[in-house]
Structures are given as C-alpha cells and as structure tokens.
Symmetry: C2
Subunit: 233 residues, 2 copies
C-alpha cells in the first residue's frame, strides 16, 4: 500500500514526503508507517522526511519486486479472464506464463494476447517457464485437485479465488480472496446500522463479548417451524 501511494507521489513529481503525508495517502497512522519503514532500515531523514524514489526502490527490493515472478492462471472463466487482463500484474514484475483450462471449448482461445492451453500441459508449463506462483480461479470443486498438482510440480505460492480452504504441505503459502465474503461483511455492518439482526434483536455492543443468547427470540424461520421449536425447546 505504501508502494502504491509512493508511486502516485512519484507520478506527481514529489521528491520527498513526510511520514504524516504518506500515512494519510495510504490510510494509516503515521506512527505505524514509521515503525513499518523502520523494519526495513533507517531510510528517513529527520526534519525532512523520506526521499520518494529511494524509498520506492527499498520497498520494492524488500518485497521482491525487483525480480520477475512467473505466474500461471488456472481456470479461465470470467474471473480468470479478468485476471489475465489485469494491468496491475505486469507493472509490478509479475509475468503470466500461461492460461490453463480443462474446457475444450475455451482451450485455444486468445485472451489478452495469450492462448489458453489445456490443463494437461500444466506440469510442462510450470517446469518450462519456472512458474513459482499459481493463481487458482477454478470452480470450488476443482480447486483442491489443481492445487495438489501445482504443488507437486514445484509451485510454492498459491493465490486462491475458489471458495474453499485449500490444504497444502508445510512450506507452501496460500492466500485467499473471497469475493462473496467481502460482501457478507459489508452486509453485516449494514444490518448493524439498520438495527441488528432482522431489526428485532440487536447484537449487544459489538460482536466481541456480546453474548446475545436468542432468548426466546425466535429467529425468523427459513425452513420454518423446526427452528422455532429448537429455540424454544
């Protein structure tokens, strides 16, 4: 996030920036920013701030963005297509080495300048291009199987968009992006603003510590009556 804010400053021709300004741009507290940056070393100048260009370089280096990373995208549905065309990857040193799918009607198509290849060739492509990061954008049912294959082929970092918890051996990193969970979190807060669950049983004070037993409070029935019984029993 700091890198993003710094790039933006760089575009505007700003040469130096104080922790206060950069923190505001990144949406964090300035003390936190200074502490974070201090973990990289002491790159600021007291009384002045940080030199933008130098800081960009140091952060990029620490994040490993000064080298190229080879990525394979598994699953070329709507999401896979969006990822293939996402400009944010190339600009940060991520090179997409392959788009792979199991569907023969998709294999061979040209997407964002790349040809979709059959999933059978997964292992070849990983080995040939030195893929170290796999992006899984398959349906949930296929995700674990694909994950196992990429890991077996030597990939040690996985970005998972499928709504499942992937299990991997030690030494393999997995990150998960779950679009519908993000919406659910928003819906939860939205509901809170409107006055608690179903507008009749507000959560006390916040989620943590709030022990709101559904005291006789029958929760609205979807499958219906049985739940009311369950609560009242």
């Amino acid at each position: 996030m700091y890198l993003r804010a710094l790039s933006s400053l760089q575009d505007r021709g700003v040469a130096t920036v104080s922790s206060e300004e950069l923190a505001a741009a990144a949406g964090v507290n300035s003390a936190k920013l200074r502490k974070d940056l201090s973990h990289l070393g002491s790159y600021g100048t007291r009384g002045v701030g940080y030199e933008v260009e130098y800081l960009v370089y140091q952060i990029s280096r620490e994040l490993g963005l000064t080298q190229d990373w080879v990525v394979a995208i598994i699953g070329v549905g709507n999401l896979g297509r969006a990822l293939a065309g996402y400009g944010g990857f190339a600009s940060r040193g991520f090179r997409v080495a392959g788009l792979l799918d199991a569907d023969d009607s998709i294999v061979g198509q040209e997407i964002s300048g790349m040809t979709v290849r059959h999933i059978d060739r997964l292992e070849d492509i990983i080995a040939d291009h030195g893929v170290s990061i796999a992006v899984i954008a398959t349906p949930a049912a296929a995700a674990q199987g694909m994950c196992d294959r990429v890991v077996a082929a030597g990939v040690t970092s996985v970005l998972n968009f499928a709504p499942v918890v992937l299990s991997v051996p030690d030494g393999v990193d997995v990150r998960k992006v779950d679009l519908s969970i993000e919406l659910q979190i928003l819906a939860f807060h939205e509901q809170r603003k409107a006055g608690g669950p179903g507008d009749y049983e507000p959560v006390a004070g916040g989620i943590p510590g709030a022990v709101v037993a559904d005291a006789a409070g029958d929760g609205a029935p979807p499958g219906a009556a049985q739940y009311i019984e369950a609560v009242e029993a």
Copy 2:
C-alpha cells in the same frame, strides 16, 4: 467462512458437527471457533456438537443474509463483468440491481442477463432499487468520484476493487480488495524462502522486529545503478 464450511457439510448430508471438525474444515483453531460461536448464543450440545442446519440458520441471520441486499456494480470492465457473472452473490442473498459504465460502447450491452446502463443514471437506479451496497470496479482515477456519488445518493457500504484508498464520511463502510497486493505478498514470502532480498540481504527472523539496517547505509542516491552500490557498499 464457518458458513461456507457448514454449507459444504450440509451438501454431504452431515447433520451434526463437533467444534474440532468444523474448525478443521474452516482452517482455524477449535477454541477460537467455539468462542466465536458462543458470541451468537449457546447453540451447541455438550457431548454431541452443533446441529449443522440450525447453525447455518443462526449464522445467516446474524450476518444479515436472511434478508436481500441490493448491489450496484460500477464499472463494467473485465473485473466488473466477472463480478456480474459471479454465482456466489445471488446464492447468498445479494441481488445485482444494475451494471453501470461511462463508456458508450459498453452501455446497452447484455451481460449475464443484465443490460449495462449509463453512469448518468446512477442516482436514479440507487433510489429506485434501494441499493445499499456499491461495488466499485472502475479504473483508479475514476474511483473516488464514483464513490462520492454513490455515497451522496445514500449508499452506506462500498466494496472497492480500484487500487486507491477511498475517503468517505463517517458512517460509511469501505472494504478493499486489491489483487496485485495479494500477489506482492506471495512474492515477498517466496523471496524469503529463496533467501532474502535479492539473495544477498536476508531479513532477520521475520518482518516484525527485524531491524536490518542497511549497514554502511549511505544516504539516498537516485538512479538504479547507484542503489546497487548503496547495498553492496
């Protein structure tokens, strides 16, 4: 996440589940799971576990998923298209009321059964359909402007995919999903496995607490070649 794991159990016809099993499925510690669930009330049976169907209902209700939420998607590029076609929304009570874009060559197109409408009609659509959640999938430059408009029109929850920090008034919730940051995080860990920044200056022990001063840290020379000197010096 618990809801997702429970749905999966439900599909397999499992009637009851212990905290241990559910925690494993969701990828968390079982004590944490029990504490989380206890905040909703006491819905487990000692010696037995939790009834899957009942728990699904209680969590859904607490999250506000027993009611419908109306969503507008702003920006119909690759990502907007993927979101429009994402099945995970409808199945959790999220209804897409509109796809909006500023590009006349996109307006009028049919995507996933919905017609893309011009951004001029944003305020109408929000008011007419009672949109409470806006999804921003525009380019970075347009995001803050669109955010201001949806907030002015009464939306109080925003899911932002654009790589900028949105500023909003108090009372409005913003969540951010940043695809390239996820990849950068993976790249960082990948680099760590391979032996630190550039393979010559490993971070000590971990990020927090690691004060890897750029020993002999001479100040701040701009220009790529000089950075290498700075590090090697």
